[in-house]
């Protein structure tokens, strides 16, 4: 707390300094409204982002006369609501950190500015699947991708060896591995199906080829209950039903303990898993290994995403151009990306930054797997595109409630998926969106 106060006041002092120097050195008239002294506010939750902003404020920002102040926020749904409320009052900050799935909601509430003119040329820096989430498949650009979370398979190397299990490369093998483990060690689980983590389920569905929200004309099409997602739901529902895997939610003290004691021997997670494992299972450091996500068709390299966020400029910003300039620097400049990796611990969305630099060494927790990030970058290349709509929150709540009761009673996941689809469509219709059946 104290540190943050210091950081904020330093930033404020720097802002004042930048303003003064900006005024002093203004020769005037070389470029029309280039980027005069601007002071920007940035709402974000990534840790250490203020330090990255400091690099900007001391370097390129000082030259351009643009000062950025980071205001730390809660992550996720709460921030989306807060931004929308602030925008209604005309008081949204210049820049916001937003998860990809929140972008349509924010655009639909007219919060985000189109920055395609200022930053559209950054397209080549990112994988297509990720870029498309920031454009919503249109000509506009609503945000610059910051980090991504390609899904991977994490497993306990030592326990796999002990129980004679091989790393599954397909989902069929995954199911066989789960059953084999149950047979050899009935008190252990390969993994768990968590009804709390809609994002993971969405990522698994993306891998299978699902596109939950698409547009045709001026209508949305919701395809949550499509064959691809049904396949994923049936697969996990079947494993829970036969008792091959656990049905407890993730991110609970009990789950931490299961990871730490080896009761759960594998975890389908994203590239950021080492951070979670470091705190959840400190005693198993160096015993885990990472492999590509099992595939639906052998030999493919497709994965989905779990998490990931972007930097967006709001319509309330009086310095959209300056804000877009900073957003572009933050997410494409090598120095900024290196600082983001180091200070915020993110996995950058920019392709060039996914190897080398700070990511040339494996995370400490995975020191037994030196090629961690080389392999991660290979996996990330196969990231399937995600298709988000304006009411992802509603779909996610419906997932939590319906899949929770299905997982609890170990019953068929099919009806839960249908309920999720129905709730999402009903909400869109209620709000007045055009919806095609």
């Amino acid at each position: 707390m104290k540190y943050r106060t210091v950081a904020v006041s330093t930033a404020a002092a720097l802002a004042a300094g930048a303003l003064l120097s900006g005024c002093g050195t203004d020769d005037g008239g070389d470029e029309p409204a280039a980027s005069g002294p601007a002071s920007l506010t940035y709402w974000a939750w990534a840790p250490g982002l203020d330090k990255v902003a400091d690099i900007w404020n001391k370097g390129p920002g000082k030259e351009a006369g643009i000062t950025v102040t980071v205001k730390k926020q809660a992550s996720g749904d709460d921030l989306v609501t807060k931004i929308i409320t602030a925008a209604k009052a005309g008081k949204a900050p210049d820049l916001v950190q937003a998860e990809y799935q929140a972008l349509p909601t924010l655009v639909s509430n007219d919060v985000l500015a189109d920055i395609s003119e200022e930053a559209g040329d950054a397209k080549g820096e990112f994988a297509d699947g990720i870029w498309q989430q920031a454009t919503l498949g249109s000509d506009a650009l609503y945000a610059l991708p910051q980090d991504s979370g390609p899904l991977m398979f994490y497993y306990r190397q030592d326990l796999f060896k002990q129980y004679g299990l091989t790393v599954p490369t397909t989902w069929d093998e995954f199911a066989e591995t789960a059953r084999a483990l149950k047979k050899k060690a009935p008190d252990k689980d390969l993994t768990t199906f968590s009804s709390n983590d809609s994002g993971l389920f969405a990522g698994l569905a993306q891998q299978a080829g699902a596109k939950w929200w698409t547009t045709g004309g001026d209508k949305w099409k919701v395809a949550i209950d499509d064959p691809a997602t049904q396949k994923v739901a049936d697969f996990w529902g079947g494993l829970v039903e036969e008792g091959a895997i656990d049905n407890q939610p993730m991110y609970t003290p009990a789950w931490n303990k299961a990871l730490n004691t080896g009761k759960q021997v594998a975890w389908v997670s994203a590239v950021w898993a080492p951070g979670t494992l470091t705190t959840a299972a400190p005693e198993t450091k160096g015993k885990w290994a990472m492999a590509p996500l099992p595939q639906w068709t052998a030999g493919e390299n497709v994965t989905g995403s779990w998490g990931g966020s972007s930097t967006a400029v709001t319509n309330d910003s009086r310095n959209k151009k300056a804000a877009a300039t900073f957003a572009k620097w933050l997410n494409t400049d090598p120095a900024a990306l290196a600082a983001l990796v180091k200070e915020s611990g993110i996995y950058p969305a920019a392709t060039a930054a996914q190897t080398g630099g700070a990511l040339s060494k494996a995370p400490d927790y995975f020191s037994n797997q030196p090629g961690f990030y080389t392999q991660a970058a290979k996996i990330a290349r196969g990231t399937a595109p995600a298709a988000w709509g304006p009411n992802v929150n509603v779909a996610y709540s419906a997932f939590k409630d319906n899949f929770a009761s299905a997982a609890k009673t170990k019953s068929d996941f099919g009806p839960a998926l249908t309920a999720m689809q129905d709730a999402t469509v009903a909400d869109l219709k209620k709000q007045g969106f055009g919806v095609s059946e």
């Binding site: 749904d77 709460d78 989306v80 609501t81 929308i84 349509p104 909601t105 655009v107 639909s108 509430n109 007219d110 919503l136 249109s138 009804s195 709390n196 547009t215 001026d218 209508k219 949305w220 049905n247 407890q248 939610p249 991110y251 609970t252 003290p253 009990a254 303990k257 299961a258 009761k263 304006p390 009411n391 929150n393 509603v394 709540s397 939590k400 409630d401 929770a404 009761s405 997982a407 609890k408 909400d427 709000q431 007045g432 969106f433 055009g434």
Partner: protein, 308 residues
């Protein structure tokens, strides 16, 4: 001569209003205005056109009673209300029963360590609800709970405390643990206010301690029992932080388990403040009706008792 009384009358007339102004301003600003705004929101809704992307695609329009009919026909809100009725049926009697029992025990003559005991029972009330729920959550979770570990060690079956019927007991337990101390203090304070000569008279008439408690103390603290019951009903209808904190730990608590959780979900997750406002108004009206209905019923009974 005539001037002084006139000025006096003028001053007397305006003085009460002047004294009322600060309270009235605060009431208007922080009570009437937000309630009025919530009512206003509850009669409106946003309407989206087409894809709903970009400028002017979203309008706020008059919705009439649509939000109210939606809320009242929403089965989730109703089942939520039923759930907290079940929860309240455990919490209120157990908590008030224990509070009364502890207050009577504390009031017994010749009790040692009275101050310490009172503080010890009261202490959980000082612990914030979320912290208490987190702590109990740890104690309920199968793999980390010391209770379940002990049960397992002696070979007894481990109940799942976060599922089905036990879930209600687990939630109620948190409320009872946190609320008993406060209610005990309220009842105990009114016990101490009973004049000592009444007990003396009772003792002279040959009353035992138990009879004194049943025949004199409990009837004489009836007003504070009514008060604590009143508070408990309101707290039950507004239960939010305990189930919300326990929610991530189990598959058995939905995001809309209690009515207030549904309001929160609509307002802050689904971004539908209009539906949330309508539900909040309904809950407020129901709370008012229930609690004042109870107060009225209790008052009329006491009055009947007086006239008898």
């Amino acid at each position: 001569m005539t001037r002084t009384p006139r000025r006096k009358a003028y001053g007397v007339k305006s003085a009460p209003y002047a004294f009322l102004v600060p309270a009235a301003v605060l009431f208007l600003l922080f009570f009437a205005l937000p309630i009025g705004y919530a009512l206003h929101l509850s009669f409106r809704r946003t309407e989206v056109k087409g894809l709903g992307l970009g400028k002017g695609a979203r309008d706020e329009i008059w919705a009439g009673l649509a939000n109210y009919t939606d809320a009242l026909s929403d089965s989730e809100l109703l089942t939520g209300a039923l759930r907290i009725l079940g929860y309240g049926a455990i919490v209120v009697p157990v908590m008030l029963g224990l509070a009364l029992l502890f207050a009577l025990l504390l009031d017994t003559d010749g009790l040692r360590l009275r101050g310490f005991t009172r503080l010890a029972i009261f202490l959980p009330y000082a612990i914030p609800g979320v912290i208490a729920a987190l702590m109990w959550g740890f104690l309920y979770l199968p793999d980390v709970s010391p209770f379940l570990y002990l049960l397992d060690a002696v070979g007894l079956p481990q109940p799942d405390l976060l599922d089905g019927g036990p879930l209600y007991l687990s939630l109620a337990n948190i409320a009872v643990w946190g609320g008993t101390g406060f209610n005990m203090i309220v009842i105990y304070t009114s016990l101490r206010a009973i004049p000592a000569e009444i007990f003396e008279a009772a003792r002279l008439d040959g009353c035992s301690q138990l009879q004194i408690a049943l025949r004199i103390k409990i009837p004489m603290v009836a007003p504070s029992l009514i008060l604590t019951f009143f508070f408990s009903i309101i707290a039950t209808l507004q239960v939010f932080s305990e189930p919300t904190t326990l929610k991530p730990l189990t598959n058995s608590l939905s995001t809309t388990w209690s009515p207030l959780m549904k309001v929160y979900q609509d307002a802050f997750v689904n971004n539908d403040i209009h539906a949330a406002a309508a539900q909040a108004v309904i809950i407020a009206v129901a709370t008012l009706a229930l609690s004042f209905g109870f107060l009225k019923a209790a008052n009329s009974r006491t009055k009947q008792g007086d006239s008898r």
